[in-house]
């Protein structure tokens, strides 16, 4: 199927007007010795029914949908209200470019302005950008931003930070003078504050703290921010699960200077990892160092309110190598979906959503840790994810559960060798009590 719109007559007349005998003529500037000179080795084109059949056959090769899954670790299955799909799939939202021409982009620009406001309200920050690629790269951009703000040399990363976020930060900082320093975790699963305090000094650029952390445990952001501030380091709150902000105190109110996180839970499907939505918010003082696009309020020639992309002197298309970041295309449509999701959920809906996640996880934790030999690995308060310690290695248990079409959680051994017998279990509002009970009874059988 080709999507060309020209008739043969069009082609003929247009070639004539352009002064060419055939399309070949246009390519005369390409030397013969680098021409392909053969047909691409790509299969013949497919019609729509053929394409659908083929792609359906590919999709059917993934058995994941058959399973009852408790996988989380930075990607979560949540309810997506019907209006999110219905409105975001409108071609007027799906098929424009970045809103460089504000007069014909007010829809996108106002939606981004609302998105920025919602992120500020959730994080308790003054300003937020229009989106970044994902939570991990948002955390990396937060680190680079902190570096520009105070020019120090060390960044403290807790071990309880999502391992993939850590790796992305490592990649992004490899060519800077920043040194990454680790801080451990305690038996409650929270940052070991004594260890943390010993790692912060006058060289510290920023202290990152993910809450709820990779183990699902809610951190004491307030104390972490205080320890950072005592040495004039910046505190960066990392939020890998946006829904938690419906219930937990906003990082900005707990003293965090920058909040970076992942908004996948706001109306984006799991999608085997993307597209997701990175958010970045901060105090107003840091505005000039914030990377990424910003929608700002403006007035038109008749004094009416409108919105424009603003403060673009921070950006690559104006400042080139002196820009705050190289980001150009971001995740605007994902931010639009998040905006529709959050406005549909509304204040009470988001609070209820967060509360149900917490309640169900609590029920699951209590039920599962009552099984013989199974305990909660950490004593700290959790949101909707928790680590269980099992009487056998997770690998063996996982295999047996898979035999019952259950994916019980994410094993931790690869990233945390000391947690070989542990598993990270996620429960959201999308799990019913029956689902949780099924996991419990299956686990009981497997461990017997």
């Amino acid at each position: 199927m080709s999507y060309i719109s020209l008739s043969d007559k069009d082609k003929k007349e247009m070639l004539e007007r352009a002064g060419a005998a055939s399309p070949e003529d246009f390519f005369c500037g390409i030397p013969e010795h680098i021409r392909l000179g053969r047909r691409l080795d790509v299969p013949d084109g497919l019609t729509e029914p053929e394409l659908l059949a083929f792609m359906e056959s590919l999709a059917a090769k993934s058995d994941y949908g058959r399973c009852l899954s408790f996988l989380g670790a930075g990607a979560y299955r949540h309810v997506i209200p019907t209006v999110v799909e219905a409105l975001s799939s409108r071609g007027e939202f799906l098929t424009p470019y970045t809103p460089y021409q504000p007069e014909v982009s007010q829809g996108t620009l106002q939606a981004i302005f609302e998105y920025q406001t919602l992120i500020c309200q959730l994080t308790g920050m003054d300003i937020a950008n229009a989106s970044l690629y994902d939570g991990a790269s948002a955390a990396a951009e937060a680190v680079l931003m902190a570096d520009r703000l105070n020019g120090r040399t060390r960044v403290v990363l807790p071990l309880s930070l999502h391992p993939q976020y850590r790796r992305v930060i490592e990649t992004y900082t490899r060519h800077t003078d920043l040194e990454l320093v680790e801080a451990g975790y305690g038996d409650d699963g929270r940052l070991d504050l004594k260890d943390l305090e010993s790692k912060i000094d006058d060289r510290t650029t920023a202290v990152l703290c993910q809450s709820p952390n990779y183990f699902g445990v809610v951190e004491d952001l307030k104390t972490v921010a205080r320890l950072a501030r005592a040495r004039k380091a910046l505190s960066v709150a990392v939020v890998a699960e946006g829904v938690s902000l419906g219930l937990l105190e906003a990082p900005g109110r707990l003293g965090a200077d920058i909040a970076a996180g992942e908004g996948q839970s706001f109306g984006l499907p799991l999608g085997f990892g993307g597209p997701y939505l990175g958010f970045l918010a901060c105090a107003r003082d840091f505005m000039r160092q914030l990377p990424g696009r910003l929608s700002g309020m403006a007035e038109d020639a008749e004094g009416r309110r409108g919105f424009v992309l603003t403060l673009s002197t921070r950006e690559q298309h104006i400042r080139r190598e002196k820009a705050t970041s190289n980001i150009c295309t971001n995740q605007a449509w994902c931010a639009l979906r998040a905006t529709i999701f959050l406005e549909t959920m509304g204040h009470d809906g988001l609070r209820e959503l967060a509360a149900q996640n917490g309640q169900k996880a609590r029920y699951a934790l209590e039920t599962l840790s009552a099984l013989p030999g199974v305990t909660a690995r950490f004593s700290g308060p959790v949101f909707h994810e928790f680590v269980l310690r099992l009487p056998k290695s997770w690998k063996a248990v996982d295999e047996a559960l898979r035999g019952k079409d259950i994916l019980g959680g994410v094993g931790l051994e690869k990233d945390f060798p000391e947690l070989r017998d542990c598993v990270l279990v996620n429960v959201t509002e999308a799990h019913s009590r029956r689902d949780i009970d099924r996991l419990a009874s299956s686990l009981r059988e497997v461990l017997r």
């Binding site: 899954s69 993307g274 150009c328």
Partner: protein, 488 residues
Amino acid sequence: MKREPLIFEVSDKGKRAFRLPKLDVPCGQDPWRGYSLRESIEGFPQVSEIEVVRHFTRLSQWNHAVDIGFYPLGSCTMKYNPKVNERVAAFPGFAGVHPLAPEEYAQGCLEVLKRTEELLGEITGMDAFTLQPAAGAHGELVGMMLIRAALADRGDPRRVVLIPDSAHGTNPSSAHLCGYRVQEIKSDGSGRVDMAGLEKAMTSEVAALMVTNPNTLGVFETDIRKIAAVVHSRGGFLYMDGANMNALCGVCRPGDMDVDVIHLNLHKTFSTPHGGGGPGGGPVGVKNVLEPYLPGPKVDRRDGRLVLVADLPKSIGRVRSFHGNFLVVVKALAYILSLGAEGLKEMSEVAVLNANYIRKSLEGLFHLKYQTPTLHECVFSDKFQKEHGISNLDIAKRLIDYGVHPPTMSFPLIVPGALMIEPTETEPRRELDVFIEAMKAIAREAKESPELLKSAPHASPVRRLNETAAARNPVLRWTEDMTEPSRE
């Protein structure tokens, strides 16, 4: 003129647009012990479902989009985004799969990744691809990191990256982010890389040359192999920005031009929707020499199954969580399979035909700084109209009144007052003619009634917006003390 309030301005306590099923587990005693709880989310909206639906439906009507009309934004390749690709990406076997699903539960998703890597390899002539980068600039950063890692391995770290003065702004920015000093290379009179300048600049301190081909003027770098030879002879790498790959598919391949690294933009050449600024996809292709450094994990075939290989000792590491913008990749794969070999070639041929049709139709009316033949786009300027005090911005704003999205104006920097026009292959001739007639009318108006252009647009939801004032005193969010402007 219609106004649409901010959602916060129609919010009222207690309104709901969505309800969850009742909690089906027992409430624990004191369930939030140990939390720092918030009492409310201050200012968060409360509206009904129809309010949400009308709000976004009205807002959508204020956007120009490919689905509405011509969008000749140069170097952005605003082609038609096939609807069937959206349907395919929504299949539960793609959209519903968790990124940490064990390999044996995600074979279909892994096959999408593997097949796309292989097809992109054939289309570009590169040996290996990573699909992890989330956008073009992200791909550029990866490309630079690969080069830096390879040079470090050789014990020959270098400090400089050469970039032609016609380049997109992300090129210098990405190189800088990777720790390189950027040195500009001048273009010659044809708009191409100046070979003498390159010879001189290409020292043993230069890690790479980043070149866009065809470049942002739409001009093919005819000497690309000589360029590669100069770069390689001094131990550097040739990076190609593939933003303009829409001009070359089935005709020639970067791999055959001795390019070492390339990034593609799935949201340009491969039809995935731009979504008002993203998500994109920025696959990076490399020659064998750079493959060991690609981000991981990578998909591999083993005993008839697809597996993820994470043990890559030389890899630069991750640049994004999980597997990149996977559903964007699904759409790009669907597009490649729809077009097939013949369709891909026709795509590039017609993209180039459409661009040359426009160029020929407007030559003489608008200034063309470089007379060199062009491929998929052409760059005019406002030089003739400047005589009447009219800038490219005025021309752009007036085009809006004719129902057309303006061309790119922010670059290339070597053409002052640029109007970079890229029609793409999917435009019907009728739309091209509407645009050509509009441009002709504007050229007339510039002479006869310049005020009409300076005060444009006249037919848009808002008139020209004061961007300078907005940047001087930035208002970046709604606050409760804001008053809603009165409705007219």
